[in-house]
Symmetry: C2
Subunit: 228 residues, 2 copies
Amino acid sequence: MRSYGQYCAVAKSLDVLGDRWTLLIVRELLLTDQLRYTDLRNGLPGIATNLLADRLRELEAAGVIARVEAPPPVATTLFSLTDRGRRLRPILDALGRWGVPYMTEGPADGDVFRSEWLSWPAEVFLSDHRPEDPPVTIELHVGEQPLLLETVEGAVRSRVPEAAERADATLAGSPHAVLGLLSGRIDLDRARELGVVYEGDPAVLERVCPTHPEAGFDGLSADALPSL
Amino acid sequence: MRSYGQYCAVAKSLDVLGDRWTLLIVRELLLTDQLRYTDLRNGLPGIATNLLADRLRELEAAGVIARVEAPPPVATTLFSLTDRGRRLRPILDALGRWGVPYMTEGPADGDVFRSEWLSWPAEVFLSDHRPEDPPVTIELHVGEQPLLLETVEGAVRSRVPEAAERADATLAGSPHAVLGLLSGRIDLDRARELGVVYEGDPAVLERVCPTHPEAGFDGLSADALPSL
DNA sequence: CCGCATCCGGGGCGATACTG
DNA sequence: CAGTATCGCCCCGGATGCGG
């Protein structure tokens, strides 16, 4: 990217990160530690292959990602974040938190979806109301692959589960309906009408879901959002 | 900006903020509450006037900024952030914090500079080591206009000072030298050799500056930064 | 002056095809 | 699987013009 030519920390960051697709590549690598070129391509629907190659080169030159030649039997190149790349998490989290209101009204026409992307709304909306109790996990089945939510230190974190990992409860349904439930905009009964399936102790869900009258989310509701 | 077409909070944010110059316009409005078109143009060296007009329209449509028609004697349109726009501060702060290492090696050739941009390095590097004592202020004279640092709740915040506001100490010099002092990379004696002028009780500066062997800044030193 | 609109050249980007 | 090559378009940068 052409430099802004400003001796300013924000501008310097944008010199490195401001190109189209760059931060979404970082998002993919924050959600899944190591990815192949093809995995990135699949996780970034719409990116042109030459752009992906360009961005990966630039990010490597900037010290944000590293290329690892995996030994057999994998025998392919894997991309992962460097330490400096992992320090981008606060930026992505801030962007995610600010963008959550744009999700609560449902996907726009033609939007694609991957369940890992629920990571940000889940961590923003949910919290552990009984942090002293033993931790619990909930498995989300929303897109192609599941997402695991777990209570940790009073908050809720998400990650891609290991194979055959069992959770205390499972929640399945459409992205919009599951998000409505997680945000506290609708309750479980209403969610079920929208096709949501919840299996497990209801107390597990209640433990992490927002208290019902959508409270104190610091302007995270979609109300008063411009039409775009 | 063309939408990424992804039902993801990060992508939705970038749909609104990802265009070139957009976040730098927000930066200007976070640093100074209300700005005229011409002020923005001056604060964003290099931006084309049509792009500035485009971005302001887009940001207004997105509900991030608002246009205020100032009454006489000002008689001009002022731009300011909405509530939603002010919630972008965590994003800018995260970008600023990540970008600080790119500043510690000095400005690149042709970089322009404005003293307000020292806001991020100052808040990242400085802290109040004696939060129980009465608050102190330091006035930075680095660029055209001064920047005021003040201790608040154990941290150091910065803002553009009111006219004729007096600080407990003043610090003047080149951006690179002042930044070296603020980051703890050089001490006051060395800074003075580089043309820095400090007036006031040395204890004021020591109270906020990092303890000398550049300690624990979470990878914020410029070491091991790629050449770009 | 202030707040833009218009025009125009160049390059970043999007889509597809092709290759070691 | 991991890219390169190509082509059109549109975004961006820079200059100028223009009404209030």
